[in-house]
């Protein structure tokens, strides 16, 4: 902590490498929390969005309210949302995840609906003609064809969530955001710069990993 204060008067370097190498564990711990918060958010959002997206694809009476509710939720800035939740859920992971999950649901939900809407009617007819029941048709024909769109949604949600996790630093979490906050409070550039760069890198690596998974899971969707 004090390191930053001593350097403040003089020109402070952007990265103090000695300090960085002696405090590496802080970065790995923060990164681990960052990945956990992101993974929980996107996983729960996926579990909610797929059934909701199937419903929204079938029934207008589900689609419109779902879009309106999650659309309003998505518009609320995360810091305001966390502040609104604090009286109920306190400074906790629950508070952070309610926001992160809600935002991801909107992103993935839209893509699930777009993916299901774009299944050609001929394919549905063919599946019906082959004797598929509605549930089997959904699981074995429609959802697989919607996978490229769903993957695209998961990728956007993951990258978005990794960026938003840093803001949860104001409610005591933050992953890499903690180190950004520390950089701000102590006027110390090293944790600030390194954590910001790591957050960008984490988002890009996660996006590439998901793109790789998409290639394996849906090899016919190259370039989608």
């Amino acid at each position: 902590m004090a390191t930053g204060l001593f350097l403040q008067a003089e020109e402070q370097p952007w990265i103090l490498w000695d300090w960085l190498f002696t405090h590496l564990s802080r970065f790995t711990d923060a990164m681990q929390q960052h990945v956990e918060l992101t993974f929980i958010a996107v996983a729960i959002a996926l579990v909610i969005s797929i059934p909701l997206g199937v419903g929204a694809h079938r029934w207008r009476s589900v689609r419109n309210p779902a879009y309106v509710v999650f659309g309003i939720f998505y518009t609320i800035p995360s810091i305001a949302l966390f502040a609104l939740l604090i009286p109920y859920t306190g400074l906790s992971i629950t508070t952070a995840e309610i926001g992160l999950v809600g935002y991801s649901v909107l992103i993935i939900l839209r893509n699930v609906v777009v993916g299901l809407d774009s299944v050609p009617p001929d394919v549905i007819d063919a599946a019906n003609g082959m004797g598929y029941r509605p549930m089997a048709r959904l699981m074995r024909v429609e959802l697989p064809l919607a996978l490229p769109a769903i993957f695209a949604g998961v990728r956007i949600a993951t990258v978005t969530t990794i960026g938003l996790v840093t803001i949860t630093a104001v409610i005591g979490l933050g992953g890499l955001g903690q180190l950004i906050l520390q950089g701000l409070v102590d006027d110390f550039r090293t944790p600030l710069v390194v954590a910001t760069a790591l957050s960008v890198a984490l988002a890009l690596v996660a996006d590439l990993l998901l793109a790789g998974m998409q290639r394996l899971a849906v090899p016919w969707s190259r370039g989608a």
Binding site: S78, A80, L164
Partner: protein, 235 residues
């Protein structure tokens, strides 16, 4: 509900409606800084997106710029800008402008590049020069997505401007950050309500403007632009 009651009391107190920390002052600060960032961002982003979309070039770049924008942690960008430029509006406006650019580039690119080639041919056949064709045929058809880009940017800028309070900026974020620091949960809650309303008001008023600017002829044909626009959330 004690929390709701104290919230009403907070809003009813005349002292919260005047002076440098009063709601009108904070509202103006918030709107002013957001409007400046969106305006500068639009001047940079819209010509780029429109020209790339018109020629159908560099589509990957125009679309990936939003992906990179999403990956940038707005909080880190604000604090780094603060380290470079020090106190004042400059670091805040620069960071917000940087975050405002990607959705406007991507959405205006998509809007322009999706204009039906037959329509472009027809315009050419009717004798439109390239610039007239762009301004009087393609741009009106792309209005829903161009406006959706501006709206997405504006809502995110308003949201991110809240974080500016962390680097000593004004706006409604002050109530949230000060409320947290002072354990004044009523102030925190009031600030959150104000920020949420401002973001929703921005969304709704720009959606209204979008509807006004959309040519009557394409209102019926176009699928809801909101649902086609690139999602973008930085704060």
């Amino acid at each position: 509900m004690a929390a709701i009651e104290s919230l009403f009391k907070w809003f009813a107190a005349p002292s919260h409606w005047s002076g440098p920390d009063g709601i009108p002052t904070r509202l103006l600060e918030h709107i002013q800084i957001s409007a400046e960032a969106v305006a500068i961002g639009a001047v940079i982003a819209l010509p780029i997106g429109i020209v790339l979309g018109h020629y159908g070039r560099l589509g990957n770049l125009a679309i990936n710029v939003s992906n990179v924008g999403r990956a940038l942690p707005s909080f880190g960008i604000l604090v780094i800008a603060f380290q470079i430029f020090g106190l004042g509006d400059l670091p805040i406006i620069l960071s917000l402008t940087a975050l405002a650019i990607p959705p406007m580039v991507t959405n205006s690119y998509v809007g322009l590049s999706e204009v039906d080639p037959d329509i472009k041919d027809a315009a050419r056949g009717m004798g439109y020069r390239e610039l007239a064709q762009l301004l009087r045929v393609e741009l009106p058809l792309a209005v829903p997505l161009v406006m959706a880009g501006i709206r997405t940017s504006a809502v995110q800028v308003v949201a991110t401007a809240t974080l500016a309070a962390l680097i000593a900026g004004g706006g409604f974020g002050r109530y949230i950050i000060d409320g947290l620091a002072q354990y004044d949960y009523t102030k925190l809650f009031a600030g959150a309500v104000l920020v949420a309303f401002l973001a929703l008001a921005t969304e709704l008023s720009l959606a209204g403007l979008e509807r006004l600017l959309t040519p009557r002829g394409i209102r019926l044909v176009k699928v809801n632009a909101t649902r086609r626009a690139t999602t973008f959330k930085t704060a």
